[in-house]
Symmetry: C2
DNA sequence: AAAGATACGGACCGTCGGTCCGCTTTGCAA
DNA sequence: TTGCAAAGCGGACCGACGGTCCGTATCTTT
C-alpha cells in the first residue's frame, strides 16, 4: 500500500550526505564541530535536503551509524562462530563485546557523535536495545547469573564511546591492550577463570 | 600573595545562583532545557554575573555538583566504615559504589547535567579522576585482579548517570532493586561469591 | 508532451551560550 | 565621614547553530 519508492535524485543525495558526513566526522576533532551546514556543503546539497531526508541531526547520525554497523550486525545475526548464533553463550558473549569494542575503536568519532547527542539518551536507540536484548538472553542461559538484564547493561557500559575515546584517544592505550583488558573483565564477570589473552 | 578574597555581594550572588540552579535542575525534565538565562532570572541576577562567577555553563554545573557531593566526599576521605579509609578493600569497594549509586539516584538531574555537557568528556572532570584513582588503588590491593585501572573504569561505568536515569526514571526500577543489582554485579567482579542482599 | 507529485536549496527564524561596557557597589584610607 | 579606585553588576548585544518555509526545478507517469 503506501511505501512508494523515493525519487532517484533523493536517493543520490541521501547517499552523498551520508558519505560527506562520514568523512567529516572522521576528520573532525569533536563531533560537535561538524555542523549540518558543513555536511550539506560537503555533500553539494542544500540544508533543507538534509533535514528532509533524515528529520534532524540525530536522525542523520543514527542512519550513518546504522550503515556502518550493518556488516557487524549481519555477522552477528547469521554469521559463522564465534559471532554467529551457533556459538554457545560462554564463548559468544566475549566475542560480541570484543567485536563491539573494535567497532567503536574503528569508528570513534561516529560512536561519540551518536552517544553524545545531548538530550537523547543513548539507551533509547534501537541499536542499543538490540544489543542489550541479545546479550541479556545469552547471559540468561549462563549459570549463576543473578540479573542478566543489569549485567548486560553493565557490560555494554564498559564499551561506551566516551570511555573508549578517553582510553584509546586521550590516554593512548594501544588497541590490543584495551581488547585484553575488556576480555579479562568480561571473563571475570562471566566467571570464566582460565581465559587469558590469545 | 595574590588570592584576594571576593567581595561580599559576589559571594552572595554566587550562592544565589547555585541555589537557583539546583532547584531549576531538580524541577526540569531534562537538564538541557534549563538555560543560563533561566538560572540568572531565578537567582535575581544578571547573566553576566553568572559567567563572571563560573566561567561557563560547565563550570556552573561542576561547582554545583561539587557542592552536593561534598558530604559524601568527606565521608569517604575521613569517615567511619564502611565508607572511610579504615575499611578493607573487599568491603569498601562495594560500599563506595553503592554510595555513588545512591547519590546519583538522589541527584539524577544534576548528574545527568554534568555527564551530558556535550563535548566535555565526563572523564576529564577531577571528580571522576578522584573516584577512579581511589577505586583503582583499592582494587590493586585485591588478589587476582588483572587490570585495576580498567576494572575501576568499568565498575564506575555501571553507575553512569544516563544508565541510572534509564533504569530508575524511565523503566521505573525501584531503588532497592537497582542497589541489589549493582551489589551483585560488583560482588561478581570482585570474586566475592557469598554475598547476597541484606 | 503535459501535468502532477516530489524534492531542491538557501534565505530566514528563534534560541542559546557567551561577551562587552557603561554604571553601581564595596571596601579601603585619609 | 568622605573620597576614590577597583571589583562587580546586568542586560543589550553578538555569532552560531538547528530547524523551517516556500518559490522553483526535477522527476515520473500517462
Amino acid at each position: 500500500m503506501p511505501e512508494r519508492k523515493p525519487r532517484k535524485d533523493a536517493t543520490r543525495n541521501r547517499a552523498a550526505a551520508l558519505a560527506a558526513a562520514d568523512t567529516l566526522f572522521a576528520d573532525s576533532r569533536s563531533p560537535e564541530d561538524v555542523t549540518m551546514a558543513d555536511i550539506a556543503d560537503a555533500a553539494g546539497v542544500g540544508k533543507g535536503t538534509l533535514f528532509r531526508a533524515f528529520g534532524d541531526r540525530t536522525g542523520l547520525i543514527r542512519a550513518l551509524y546504522g550503515t556502518r554497523l550493518e556488516p557487524l550486525a549481519a555477522a552477528v545475526e547469521s554469521g559463522p562462530p564465534p559471532l554467529g548464533p551457533a556459538t554457545p553463550p560462554a564463548e559468544r558473549v566475549p566475542a560480541l563485546l570484543d567485536a563491539l569494542l573494535c567497532f567503536k575503536l574503528d569508528n570513534r568519532h561516529l560512536a561519540l557523535a551518536l552517544e553524545g547527542t545531548g538530550a537523547d539518551s543513548p539507551y533509547r536507540t534501537d541499536h542499543y536495545e538490540q544489543w542489550h536484548t541479545l546479550l541479556r538472553d545469552l547471559l540468561h542461559r549462563l549459570p549463576d547469573l543473578a540479573d542478566p538484564g543489569f549485567t548486560a547493561h553493565a557490560l555494554l557500559a564498559a564499551t561506551r564511546a566516551d570511555l573508549v575515546e578517553h582510553l584509546a584517544g586521550e590516554r593512548q592505550t594501544p588497541r590490543e591492550d584495551l581488547r585484553a583488558q575488556l576480555a579479562a573483565f568480561t571473563a571475570r564477570v562471566l566467571g570464566t577463570p582460565g581465559t587469558t589473552t590469545p
